[in-house]
């Protein structure tokens, strides 16, 4: 075996049964000591499936978007509450505690766009929500659960960035002021100071609309993907100015989603070319091309324990276990990574499948 090249990595397993394209994925729970996390998937047909990763089967189905595509899923940090956003212009708040699955609250969205919302926890029971606003280029900020509108972020009249495509609320550790990162239709990423309602900085990363980005607040670095053939890595300096560090060329255009793993070691992209690509986050070295799906990959998600899920138009969700998060902090990633070109499945150092038996 040692001589022959390792076969391209396979998914750990595949979840089937959504019966329509998968557009949103979110891992739920699974923090340390809580056992296996659950995986939530939102489908084109408007259903949210809750998957047990232990039995690999759907344990429940939530139907709250009247047959319209579910585009965003997010669980709130406290309690078993889930937010789901659908193309029926509704944002639903679900209570999932103790096997319940009922909508406890819902809100109307004002925008028909594709933009996914974002939340930021503020205190025990309060959280801030950012979602696309009434005007096509606006972002609306709300205080939840009271639903009081905080402000509407509207770009200056001469900027014309187009619609917001993706949003992320965050807060630097040093300051209590919430910040909003927004990717726009014209390919630019802007940093908003929510309390001052002004753009701190804006940088053009792509020539096509930004389809998805993820931001590492520790390293103050972010990565974004767009409809074009490149990934852009940008950073934020002390003066809160965004600047593009580098771009990474891809062989095929179209990145639907980008996610950085919680341990900030690797990142994964969902490609329109049916493939999931994995990169080293620090160096942006390509690590693997995961080809399994037979249609566009719409979304990727990482679990706290390192599992990667990818949802695709072929109605399947593939679950991958790559470079397992080791308990000691030393990075296992450097060394055995070869340069790759697209289509060539990269030979991966696969983690020993055999888990050592407990003594």
């Amino acid at each position: 075996m040692a001589a022959s090249p390792l076969p391209p990595p396979d998914p750990r397993f595949v979840l089937r049964g959504t019966q329509s394209a998968v557009h949103a994925l979110h891992f739920f729970g699974g923090a340390k000591g809580q056992g296996q996390p659950l995986l939530l998937s939102g489908s084109l047909s408007g259903l949210v499936h809750i998957w047990s990763l232990q039995t690999r089967r759907a344990v429940a189905t939530l139907d709250g978007h009247r047959g319209q595509c579910v585009t965003w899923l997010h669980s709130l940090p406290q309690g078993h509450q889930l937010l789901s956003q659908g193309r029926d212009l509704k944002l639903c708040l679900w209570d999932l505690a103790e096997g319940r699955n009922a909508v406890v609250d819902s809100m109307r969205l004002e925008s028909m766009g594709f933009c996914r919302s974002t939340v930021l926890a503020r205190g025990q029971r309060h959280w801030m929500l950012a979602m696309p606003g009434r005007g096509s280029d606006e972002v609306q900020i709300l205080e939840m659960p009271s639903k009081t509108s905080v402000c509407t972020l509207k770009p200056e009249a001469d900027a014309k960035p187009g619609m917001p495509m993706c949003l992320e609320l965050w807060q630097a550790e040093s300051s209590p002021r919430p910040l909003l990162l927004a990717g726009y239709e014209d390919g630019s990423v802007a940093l908003w100071d929510v309390s001052e309602r002004k753009v701190c900085s804006r940088v053009a990363c792509h020539t096509e609309p930004v389809m998805g980005f993820d931001f590492d607040s520790q390293k103050a670095r972010g990565v974004s993907g767009s409809a074009e053939k490149a990934l852009a890595v940008w950073s934020l300096d002390e003066q809160q100015a965004l600047q593009v560090c580098k771009t990474h060329e891809l062989t095929n255009p179209g990145i639907a989603d980008v996610k950085i793993r919680p341990d900030r070691k690797i990142l994964a992209t969902a490609g329109w070319d049916h493939r999931v690509r994995v990169f080293h986050w620090r160096t942006m070295k390509p690590l693997a091309v995961l080809s399994f799906h037979s249609a566009t990959v719409h979304c990727v998600a990482f679990a706290a324990n390192g599992l990667l899920a990818a949802g695709s138009g072929d109605q399947r969700i593939s679950i991958w276990s790559l470079y397992p998060i080791s308990s000691d902090s030393s990075t296992p990633l450097s060394g055995h990574v070869e340069d790759t070109e697209d289509g060539q499945e990269l030979l991966m150092h696969r983690a020993e499948a055999r888990t050592s038996r407990k003594k």
């Binding site: 089937r16 039995t55 399947r316 038996r357």
Partner: protein, 1092 residues
């Protein structure tokens, strides 16, 4: 019936006889006395006891030499008196005791006097009766140190009798009497139990007899087996009663260190034993020797009652003398555990009872010393086990293993002391592995083949009862006795139950990895360990023992499973050219359906034994067993985990199913029974249910493995088995995986087409079964009837066929309507008409059409699949392997069935499939020709118009032509001709043509062409089979156009003259000659008969 109730009366009667006896001491006088005594009541006799006894004792005491006969009758008479009265005086008791014992005294010798057996018996009985007749107080007072010499004499006398006498009766009586003397009598007359002080007194007293008694009894016990079990049993009883009384821990605890001054004379005092520590030590050492001797001899005693008594001995000694006899504990325990698996159920039960009692009272576990001894024993047994397993015969192995089992049972959780020593675990495991080695020389194991690929319908209920009973018998190299295997199984289970499971599993896993030589045995042991850990069929003697927790067990099982099903342990070579043989089988299975002649004989793919060295056979046999054992293990794990096993199904079910499709009989059987176990454990009613409920796991495995087909060549098999066993509810899942299959097929077009084609076959067969076209049932029946043969009686009475007597006005109307419709079709209005038809047959789709008239409703999934598959079939139709072509034709046939109501999909595909299909019909192996005809038939039923013209244009001329040109050849040919390809082709074409003509509803011209080509084959000169086939063609033609067929046949041979019904009509003269030499006569006659 006492006659004399009062002492006065009795005295009156007895006096003369007593006087008489005192005067003249003769046997007659004694008998007279005894006769009189019988008439005296007990109470009266009690009064006169002393008086009556006097002459008798006098007789005994008279110094003159006495005749034995007299002594005997005196003793008997005495016994009689004593048996009816009580001895109330201390003195009398002592004197009588001495006088009776003295009867057997021979001066100057240690041995009893050489007297008749009757006398001996009488004396023994007398003594026994005497002791019974003494009052309780008196008897206790009797046992004082001063009596020691006399008692000692009696005891040694009795022991001597028991040991040396020939008569069994005397021996038994002596032993009985001994029991009485030693206070062990179990009769009702001694209800009083002794208090502590009395016990101590007696113990002190008897202690001095202990050496004598124990040694003499040991000699008796270890004597000839033939002496009878009764003697040995009661000797054993006396032995342990005596020893356990004298050496009782309870008594010895209270013995003071300093001996109190005895209040007896010096000579006697020397005899008294003081049981202080040193004495105990000495005695115990000596007893240990005796006990060992006894155990050695008795544990193999042929009579079960003796062995039962041995268990009692062990129980009594271990319970009462655990400290004083600690040195004997080892052998005693060994004897006990050795009897755990005794052949007698009574002994077994008693043994288990004692073991349980020990466990309950913590005799072993609570007692450091015992636990140590047991561990020690187990240690030494483990050490010698490999050697013993090597050298002993089956019986020896059986007892050794029984012993091992007993130790494990007794030690319970403490077994870990032994297991924790690496050296001993090593030895134990080595011995187990060694003895479990399988005999892998049987070639049948390798040869046996599974015949049917879809035989998985059995439900767990059919294999009721013992879950593992249907397991194939195994042959071991080192033993043949079935019981030994069960014993080993028990040993392993107990180990798993009490032992540290992690430690054991790790150890045997290491052995499993270490070498192929150990692998099977290690797997067997692992299976049993897990079963044992779950407590399956394990008898727990230790109530407080905590079993391995389900979570831990699941974890362990998961890791073992992973190991079992890993690539290198699961995919072993079990036969030569597996792929080839497997394909041949499936071809035959479906091939038999189409072939009626004996042209194709079944060949068992027998193993070419001569061509391969036998080492390979052994290793293949070994591999088969290995897989079977691992499969059995999976079943057992399921039983061990119960419903918890459901979680493991995602990794376990796929490999098991893979093996269920294996062609080696043994493996597929083992896999099926493993699945049964899984069904039972996880609560599924049947295999179908199991597969159905878990097909998502299977599909996951299949789709992932398809990506690496070279590594997982059996993947298509699993899908096939899954398809045979699932239903329409799985369609979405199936559709998902079919895409993967087709993609992979496109990649591996050339190499692995065989296995894929059979998957496609299974898939389409399943689809056809899941989605039957309800409107077409009648047609299907008709078709099958057509295939059956040529019975015109089954002919459907359709109006078009023109049978005058059934024609009604409605029929005519119907005929005209359909004629108009056909005319319409002929004018080119095909598509509209078809669409209408489709809409009618598909009501649910109608609603959707309203919402979006421009958008075509999406095709049903099964139709899409069938279309995709048919697409591939078009390419594969011209594969270079006949087997594949045949299979593809079958698949094509099924595709057509599934697509029949979707003409828009079917027709273009049929159009594209036509050229290769024509090739199959006109230029291929006879088998393929036949199969292609079948496809044409199906196709003809579904899209007849489409096909008719093409058939007539492309195929018919060639076929007819070849039939005509070949006819003279076959007419002239000899018997060998039936083995040629040409013959088979002719036959195939003839067989295919008939049904097809009927199905396609050919026009007259084409029918004539068929008839012309076939007429020649009605000749008697043709081979019989061809004649038959030709006749069948005509039977079909008759169905289509009876009149013209009649005419045609009569043109050939006319059996009768037709006389016109009216003279004004011309007589009809047909061309057929009536001459004798007409070669067509026979066949035409038969056909015309059918037509009447």
């Amino acid at each position: 019936m006492a006659v004399f109730d009062t002492p006065e009366e009795a005295f009156g009667v007895l006096r003369p006889v007593c006087v008489q006896l005192t005067k003249t001491q003769t046997v007659e006088n004694v008998e007279r006395l005894q006769a009189q005594l019988r008439a005296v009541s007990d109470s009266a006799l009690q009064e006169l006891q002393q008086y009556v006894l006097f002459p008798l004792r006098f007789t005994l005491k008279t110094p003159a030499p006495k005749r034995e006969r007299l002594v005997q009758s005196v003793v008997e008479c005495l016994t009689f008196v004593l048996s009816s009265t009580c001895v109330k005086e201390q003195e009398l008791l002592r004197e009588l005791f001495s006088e009776l014992s003295a009867c057997l005294y021979s001066p100057g010798s240690q041995k009893p006097a050489a007297v008749s057996e009757e006398l001996k018996l009488a004396v023994i009985r007398g003594l026994s009766t005497l002791m019974h007749s003494a009052y309780g107080d008196i008897i206790l007072a009797f046992y004082e140190p001063s009596i020691l010499p006399r008692l000692g004499f009696a005891v040694s006398l009795l022991l001597d009798l028991a040991e040396r006498e020939k008569s069994k009766q005397i021996k038994i009586a002596a032993l009985k009497c001994l029991q009485v003397l030693l206070f062990q009598c179990d009769c009702q007359d001694h209800p009083r139990s002794l208090d502590e002080l009395e016990q101590k007194q007696l113990g002190d007293l008897f202690a001095c007899f202990l050496p004598g008694i124990s040694m003499a009894l040991t000699r008796v016990i270890t004597g000839d087996f033939k002496q009878g079990h009764g003697i040995v049993t009661s000797s054993l009883k006396i032995f342990y009663e005596t020893v356990s009384f004298i050496m009782a821990d309870e008594q010895l605890e209270r013995i003071p260190q300093v001996q109190p001054k005895p209040a007896v004379e010096h000579r006697v005092a020397e005899l008294v034993v003081h049981r202080e520590a040193k004495w105990v030590k000495n005695t115990s050492d000596k007893l240990t020797l005796l006990i060992k001797k006894i155990i050695e001899c008795v544990s193999v005693h042929p009579h079960w009652k003796v062995r039962l008594a041995l268990i009692e001995l062990v129980e009594a000694l271990l319970l009462k003398c655990s400290q004083s006899l600690v040195g004997s504990a080892g052998p005693l325990l060994k004897a006990l555990v050795g009897l755990v698996n005794d052949e007698s159920p009574e002994v077994q039960a008693q043994c288990n009872r004692v073991l349980r009692r020990f466990a309950d009272q913590k005799v072993v576990v609570g007692n450091r010393a015992f636990a140590d001894i047991l561990s020690e024993n187990l240690h030494s047994l483990a050490t010698s086990l490999p050697r013993l397993m090597n050298s002993q015969d089956d019986q020896g192995k059986f007892s050794t293993l029984s012993e091992l089992l007993g130790y494990l049972k007794l030690l319970g959780p403490k077994v870990n002391f032994v297991l924790n020593s690496a050296a001993h675990l090593q030895r134990l495991s080595k011995a187990l592995v060694q003895v479990l080695e399988l005999d892998v020389t049987d070639i049948k194991i390798v040869e046996a083949r599974r015949w049917h690929s879809d035989q998985l319908s059995a439900s767990p209920e059919t294999a009721a009862g013992q879950p593992w009973s249907q397991m194939q018998k195994r042959y071991f190299r080192f033993f043949t006795d079935e019981r030994l295997f069960l014993l080993l199984q028990q040993v392993c289970r107990l180990l798993g139950f009490y032992g540290d499971l992690y430690l054991l599993v790790d150890h045997f896993m290491e052995l499993y990895h270490e070498s192929v030589v150990y692998r099977k045995q290690a797997a067997m042991i692992l299976n049993e360990l897990v079963a044992g850990a779950a407590g399956l069929e394990v008898e727990n003697l230790h109530e407080k023992h905590i079993k391995t927790s389900p979570d831990e067990l699941r974890e362990i099982v998961t890791s073992i499973l992973e190991e079992y099903t890993s690539q290198e342990n699961w995919h072993l070579i079990t036969c030569i050219e597996s792929e080839e043989a497997g394909e041949e089988l499936t071809v035959k299975q479906s091939g038999l359906r189409a072939i009626t002649s004996g042209a194709h004989t079944c060949q068992v793919p027998s193993f070419p034994a001569f061509s391969k060295p036998s080492a390979t056979i052994c290793s293949m046999n070994g591999n088969i067993w290995q897989i079977c054992i691992q499969l059995e293990g999976i079943g057992r794990f399921a039983c061990a985990l119960g419903k918890d096993f459901r979680l493991l199904l995602m990794s376990a079910l796929y490999p098991v199913l893979e093996k269920a499709g294996d062609q080696t009989l043994l493996i597929s059987q083992a896999a099926t029974s493993a699945m049964m176990d899984i069904c039972r454990a996880c609560g599924y009613d049947s295999l179908r249910h199991l597969i159905n409920q878990n097909s998502d796991y299977l599909v996951n495995g299949i789709s992932l493995n398809l990506r690496h087909l070279s590594l997982h060549p059996h993947t298509p098999k699993v899908l096939e088995v899954m398809l045979w066993n699932s239903d329409a509810s799985l369609l979405p899942l199936v559709a998902d995986v079919v895409q993967d299959v087709l993609t992979t097929l496109d990649q591996f077009y050339d190499k692995r087409a065989t296995s894929f084609v059979s998957v496609l076959h299974a898939l389409l067969a399943a689809l056809a079964q899941w989605f039957p076209d309800t409107g077409d049932l009648g047609q299907l029946q008709e078709q099958s009837a057509g295939e059956e043969g040529s019975h015109l009686s089954q002919r459907p009475a359709t109006p078009e066929k023109g049978l005058e007597n059934t024609t009604t006005a409605e029929d005519i109307e119907q005929f005209l309507l359909s004629y108009l419709r056909e005319k319409d079709v002929a004018d080119g209005n095909v598509s509209d008409f078809d669409n209408e038809e489709e809409e009618q047959s598909d009501p649910p789709k109608g609603g959707e059409r309203d919402t979006g008239p421009d958008v075509e409703p999406p095709l049903p999934v099964q139709v899409q699949i069938a279309a995709d598959v048919m697409e591939r079939c078009i390419h594969l139709l011209s594969d270079k392997h006949l087997k594949i072509r045949l299979k593809v034709l079958d698949v094509l046939d099924l595709c057509v069935v599934v697509l029949q109501s979707h003409k828009n999909q079917l027709l273009p595909l049929a159009h594209r499939a036509w050229p290769p299909l024509v090739h199959r019909l006109t230029n291929d192996d006879p088998l393929a020709v036949l199969r292609a005809f079948k496809v044409l038939q199906t196709l003809g039923g579904k899209c007849g118009d489409f096909l008719r013209s093409r058939f007539c244009k492309d195929v018919l001329p060639k076929l007819a032509g070849s039939l005509v040109t070949q006819a003279p050849v076959s007419a002239r040919a000899g018997p060998v001709y039936s083995h040629t390809l040409a013959f088979k082709l002719q036959l195939a074409v003839l067989q295919g043509l008939g049904p097809l003509c009927e199905r396609l509803d050919l026009g007259e011209g084409d029918l004539n062409r068929v008839a012309d080509a076939c007429l020649i084959y009605l000749s008697a000169k043709q081979p019989v089979k061809l004649q038959e086939a030709a006749r069948r063609v005509f039977l079909h033609l008759m169905k289509v156009d009876p009149d013209s067929t009649w005419f045609l046949l009569n043109e050939l041979y006319c059996p009768e003259q037709f006389t016109p019904p009216h003279p004004s009509l011309h007589p009809v003269q047909l061309r057929g000659t009536t001459g004798q030499g007409n070669p067509y006569a026979a066949n035409v006659l038969r056909l015309l008969q059918e037509l009447q």
